[in-house]
Symmetry: C2
Subunit: 410 residues, 2 copies
């Protein structure tokens, strides 16, 4: 969590973090600014000090909502830097970095550069910064990065925001179930009161509106039916009409509007009735889900132990897995889950190949076993987002039932 | 446009473009994939050849919609690369880059790295790629980049998509006007049928829904009233109720759902009636808008000439400008416009400081003069998005009227 940042900087021998990049979709910046919506500028964190923000004069008021010290570009004589750079704003920004490091007393050493943005521009800017400010080494990192480590546990302020998103997402699952249930059958097709087929595109439009009603935004939901549901990443074909007795995988992973925390939940629904082989797979997936939850015993436990338990279970039921068949395209073909936060995929990884990741108090993770048989025309997945709370208990934040058969009322 | 890429690569002495990064919000990737929604993998363009895509096996079908050659990670033995990297996917990706460059016959030389993503990760990946594949130099660039140059003109396929977004955005402006007009006055407040005040937050919720109905997504609209409208970047206060006779700046710049082309339009509305000083400023802004349009004569013209004409006009009317008062916070405090495309801000820049940018056939630009007097409690801006069409004419794609006073019908 945020209070770990100084320790994580120390471990990397960083004297400062420089968080830069674009405004939209910039999780490290959103993390440091505590939800204030800054669309430019930079955040500077010196080791042992709170972060400070340097923003466009237009954004100082919004920036102040972060609770951090805020400086405007004017305070750093931005106009003079732009003039010196003959109007080249990237070049002026490099000079702004240097001015901030010096003005705010960052001692010589390694400066970690983080944030999301245009790769080509930042490659060149960092190269120029290194040449212009030889007292500093501007460094990146990959693998388990400083922010990845921090994200592994959430603090109380984050958890309050996360719970609100969880409740809203659960309400949208509920509303979507009710929306579909309000239709009727015409042969094996689902139709509206006028007899018009209900398409996946129409369901997605309903869901996006329902998300907005709850101040959430879609980040690419999956609503995939039949054979498409057999491919974990298929988003579903908008033009396809909903049909009775087809497995539908509905994976919803919205975030708070404007780039906040995600919630991640999946349900599998069969409208009207469930074919026996879908029901059988569903029963196995539900049992695997319960197996995973039961395999959790205490904070500090390696995350892969939950996946190991699910692999054991699925293999005992005769399903191929990525452990028994590493290139399997049928059966259980992905890992059990992942951390969730400002990014939809964070650490810890609940994969049998990620041996070092642990489940800690404050971790927010998904548990999402699934079975995929595209050649048999179906896939099944169930997913809740769980918090390991302050007592060390694994608690689901997804408040929606796990019925397979969705009956039509219309 | 895309057909310029080989020339732009030649000018930079690049043997290949490597477009990498995250899926969501990655304009260079969206540009090369012609609208197909790829969320990972890479695009490789060798000079003189069409781009090719290397994607997750789950995304080969979606990738094929690009019309480009598609390879799956399997084709490049991704599993073996991950194993060799001991599960470190960033390290495996560096090896994938190397394998692609070799497998697809890219000659030794400079490889331009583009795309949007985590800056720290790509800094480190590029460093490792440079060490592992000394035949190639992996380079970034800033300032007027290769993609910036390409974006300056749009081709016919892009223009078709752009026109659809323009029509949809115009329809949302119309719907928003009608939505507000359906309310009534209670004193100086705008209220609904039940007498409840209409807030800015409620208007934004209406607009986001209307955008979805047209398969658009909001990317941060401004709906700012009174003093807030006097700050060009203020997004407006969601809790504030709409009031009669206040200037409201409504700047809408959505894009096609999932990361397509933007349209950018601004209107200023006064509900019920307009105070004389707002009306006077509005008249000046409208005249400035017309001055800018009239200042365009032919393709190839420097873009700053339109801004110069507007500066002359505003200064003749006694308003401070960024030319007469470079740090002005009142008057005309921004440039006249910018290119629009997959990014909301592209080149050309219609700034008096950008002397090299030109208006060309196929350029898509905004014209958006404004006046800002926060201490007097108002701001005014008008903006259309214009195309320079194949005949060389400057044509507005924003199909909505420019009335200042929005009368209530309720």
């Amino acid at each position: 969590m945020k209070s770990d940042l100084d320790r994580l900087m120390q471990a990397r021998d960083l004297v400062a973090l420089l968080v830069v990049g674009d405004g939209h979709d910039n999780p490290p910046r959103a993390y440091l600014t505590n939800g204030a919506h800054i669309t430019g500028g930079l955040a500077l964190k010196r080791r042992g000090e709170a972060p400070l923000l340097v923003v466009n004069p237009m954004e100082t008021e919004e920036a102040a909502r972060s609770g951090l010290a805020v400086y405007s570009f004017h305070d750093l004589d931005w106009a003079q830097l732009v003039e010196a750079a003959q109007g080249d704003r990237s070049q002026a920004t490099v000079a702004l970095w240097g001015r901030c490091l010096e003005r705010f007393g960052v001692p010589p050493g390694k400066v970690g550069v983080y944030g999301s943005g245009s790769i080509n521009i930042y490659l060149e800017m960092v190269k120029r910064a290194a040449a212009a400010y030889p007292a500093y080494q501007f460094v990146g990192e990959m693998g388990m990065t400083l922010f990845d480590e921090a994200y592994v546990t959430k603090d109380a302020a984050e958890i309050a925001r996360i719970q609100a998103v969880a409740a809203a997402t659960s309400a949208v699952l509920e509303a979507t179930w009710a929306f579909i249930a309000g239709h009727r059958a015409d042969g094996d097709r689902v139709v509206d009161a006028d007899g018009q087929p209900l398409t996946i595109g129409a369901v997605k439009r309903f869901v996006r509106r329902a998300l907005l009603d709850h101040e959430l935004e879609d980040t690419g939901m999956i609503f995939a039916q039949g054979r498409d549901a057999g491919f974990p990443h298929s988003r579903g074909d908008d033009g396809q009409a909903l049909r009775l007795g087809q497995a539908i995988v509905f994976d919803l992973f919205p975030r708070a509007l404007g780039g906040g925390y995600h919630h991640d939940a999946t349900r599998t629904w069969c409208i009207g009735c469930a074919p026996a082989e879908v029901q059988a797979a569903y029963d196995d997936v539900l049992a695997a889900f319960q197996t995973a939850v039961a395999a959790y015993t205490e904070p500090g436990q390696p995350a892969h132990t939950l996946q190991d338990a699910v692999l054991d279970y699925f293999e005992s039921r005769g399903h191929p897995t990525l452990r028994s068949h590493p290139s399997a395209a049928e059966g259980y073909v992905h890992s059990l889950g992942h951390g969730v936060g400002l990014n939809i995929h964070e650490r810890p990884s609940l994969s049998h190949l990620a041996k070092d990741d642990r489940l800690l108090i404050g971790s927010l993770i998904t548990i999402e076993p699934g079975l995929y048989y595209p050649e048999r025309g179906f896939g099944v997945r169930l997913e809740d987002t769980f918090l390991i709370d302050e007592t060390g208990a694994l608690v689901s934040l997804t408040n929606f039932h796990k019925e397979l058969v969705l009956p039509l009322r219309g």
